[in-house]
């Protein structure tokens, strides 16, 4: 690198650039938070949804599944599972695990109560109604 570009100049560019782009990021984040209520379906967050999210988390569903494309890639996308399968199928499916089919991927039995199953489904319904810019490309997730 050229000798006219000194280390202290490089340092100043680093601090200047780092601070500038971090502030820009904060500004975008601030705007995002302002716009979010029109997109994030938060008006439909009920106590059941909140409880459902907790069930989702405390059973580590994300350890196999994706939710809005994030998570593990071992089992199907669940952000749109409510639309793909409907509430009854989801509950019956969870209750029926594991399938025990030899050689197939197995989902554990989480022993959820009917109330917990309902709340989990409420959470998945709420998730499926978030405005995701039309992702996933089709119903298969």
């Amino acid at each position: 690198m050229s000798a006219t570009f000194t280390k202290s100049m490089a340092r100043n560019v680093f601090y200047g650039g780092g601070v500038f782009f971090f502030l820009l990021f904060l500004a975008l984040a601030f705007d995002t938070m302002k716009v979010l209520p029109t997109r994030d379906n938060s008006q439909n967050i009920t106590p059941a949804v909140a409880h459902g999210k907790k069930i989702w988390e405390t059973n580590n569903c994300i350890g196999c599944h994706t939710l809005l494309g994030e998570g593990a890639y071992f089992a199907p996308e669940l952000g749109n599972v409510y639309k793909r399968r409907g509430p009854d199928f989801i509950k019956a499916w969870i209750k029926g695990q594991p399938t025990g089919v030899p050689g197939r991927r197995q989902m554990p039995q989480f022993n959820l109560t009917d109330q917990e199953l309902d709340d989990l489904v409420e959470f998945l319904k709420y998730s499926s109604e978030i405005n995701t810019n039309n992702w996933p490309p089709n119903i298969e997730g």
Binding site: M1, F5, T6, K7, A10, R11, V13, F14, G17, G18, F21, F22, L24, F25, L28, A29, D31, T32, M33, L36, R39, D40, I45, A50, K53, K54, E57, T58, N59, N60, C61, I62, G63, C64, T66, L68, G69, E70, G71, A72, Y73, F74, P76, E77, P98, G103, R104, R105, Q106, P108, F110, Y126, S127, I130, T132, N133, W135, P136, P137, E140
Partner: protein
């Protein structure tokens, strides 16, 4: 070893390697579960194996970063570490907390673990990579603060170099952004939005400062190139890291409920994220070409060059592959992401930790470099691990492309599980490459025990 307190790095490095081995074993279990779905079920369900795999990765890299800083900061600062006792105490706390957490994952159902560890007080568990129980998360904060305190106090009482400064900034960022792991709103979009402030701003932000500082330190030592030159490069590289990487966070905000303008911000800035990695490659090769000395530790030079190349491939190229919004629309959440994740973490972070261990460990054991035979074995392990990881990424890329086609593009899309059956050949190949990786790692560990005439200090 110039300062006796540098010796505290040794247990950190040993723990890092041991946990690395654990990570790989669980990776192989998961790889097999991809094709033999009921393998080890219900003893170790996939989600448990995955938590262990990813959490061990994070913990061993953190052990590596900590060991590296305890090693290099006294030398950079030209003074003894502020408190070696605190560093050792921190080591044991981190090791015990880490082991207890992993055992908790393996022995207790996750929901029960959440109950036992006070998740009801503050709901933070069950999010990818942040699965740790609350006490562990608090422990990570305390360990990070103790580390930061020890390092900053050492820097303050001694010589202040660019490397120390950049490393400290990276650590400060690491500790600061981890605090977002305690924020878990019910609103899923906000949850995901700030989750990335830990995950992305770590690995595509502040961790890169740590990476740059470690690499610069080793390059100064093994090439003898003037510090001014190397430190100028370091500043330029990390400038590009922050300029591209911070707004580059936007490439995670395309499809999670955040505004569509992120598709522009994210695509443009993250498309530039390979630049700092490319500069790092140019930098490393340039410095080695301009070397003013022949360091007897050839293996360390290989690891350093390997880091720069593989970080560019994994983080830079494979990241770019699916970062543009129109591509990511199809690629998001497929095996392509997994391909990138594996090669990037290996290339950038696993390799830089192995680089500093390769350089520092012989010195910590009282010699400038390991015996020739040990180095040859170590270099074999480099090639075995690096090539097999490259193949893992290639196979997962193949799996991802076919998956995208069958599930998302074809006129008659197949269901997720039907597609998984179709691409099982890629998973078998990946598992094979994984076994070669394990052989490489075992060879790496063996290289520490090879006897022979070591290189004495000049």
């Amino acid at each position: 070893m110039k300062y006796t307190s540098q010796a505290v790095a040794k247990p950190y490095f040993i723990a890092a390697i041991a946990l690395f081995l654990g990570q790989i074993l669980f990776g192989l279990i998961m790889g097999l579960q991809y094709v033999v779905g009921d393998f080890l079920f219900p003893a170790i369900p996939f989600n448990v194996a995955r938590m262990v795999h990813t959490n061990l990765l994070i913990v061993w890299l953190l052990f590596g970063f900590m060991g590296a800083s305890y090693y290099l900061i006294p030398e950079e600062s030209e003074t003894e570490l502020f408190s070696p006792k605190l560093a050792i105490l921190t080591f044991w706390i981190f090791l015990v907390a880490g082991a207890a957490t992993i055992l908790g994952y393996l022995l207790v159902p996750y929901a029960a673990l959440a109950k036992m560890t006070g998740n009801d007080l503050l709901n933070t568990m069950g999010r990818e990579f942040l699965e740790q129980p609350l006490p562990t998360k608090v422990g990570i904060v305390l360990v990070a603060l103790s580390w930061l305190f020890n390092i900053v106090m050492t820097v303050l009482k001694g010589r202040k170099t660019t490397i120390s400064l950049v490393l400290s900034l990276g650590m400060l960022g690491l500790a600061a952004f981890f605090l977002f792991s305690f924020y878990n709103p019910v609103n899923l979009v906000k949850d995901k939005f700030y989750w990335w402030w830990v995950v992305h701003l770590w690995v595509e932000g502040v961790w890169e400062l740590i990476l740059g500082a470690l690499l610069a330190f080793v390059l100064i030592k093994v090439t003898g190139v003037d510090r001014e030159v190397i430190e100028k490069w370091l500043y330029v590289i990390i400038t590009m890291t922050l300029v591209t990487g911070i707004i580059g966070t936007g490439h995670h905000y395309y499809w999670i409920g955040t505004p569509a303008y992120w598709q522009w911000w994210g695509s443009i800035f993250s498309a530039l994220e390979p630049i700092p990695f490319f500069m790092m490659t140019v930098f490393a090769f340039n410095m080695v070409n301009k070397r003013r000395r022949e360091h007897p530790n050839k293996a360390a030079v290989l690891w350093a060059l390997g880091t720069s190349v593989m970080a560019f491939l994994g983080a830079g190229l494979w990241g770019f592959l699916h970062t543009l919004a129109p591509v990511n629309y199809y690629a998001h959440g497929t095996q392509l992401t997994a391909a990138h994740g594996h090669l990037a973490f290996y290339g950038a972070y696993a390799l830089v930790v192995l680089t500093i261990i390769s350089y520092a460990m012989p010195i910590l054991r009282g010699r400038a470099a390991n015996p020739e035979r040990a180095q040859i074995m170590e270099m074999w392990s480099f090639w075995l691990m690096t090539i097999s990881m490259f193949f893992i990424a290639l196979f997962l890329t193949g799996a991802g492309i076919v998956q995208i086609w069958l599930q998302r593009i074809s006129a008659a899309p197949l269901s997720f599980m039907a597609v998984q059956d179709q691409i099982s050949i890629f998973y078998w190949a990946r598992e094979g490459a994984g076994l070669v990786f394990l052989i490489g790692l075992v060879l790496y560990i063996c290289s520490f025990f090879v006897k022979g005439q070591s290189h004495a200090f000049e």
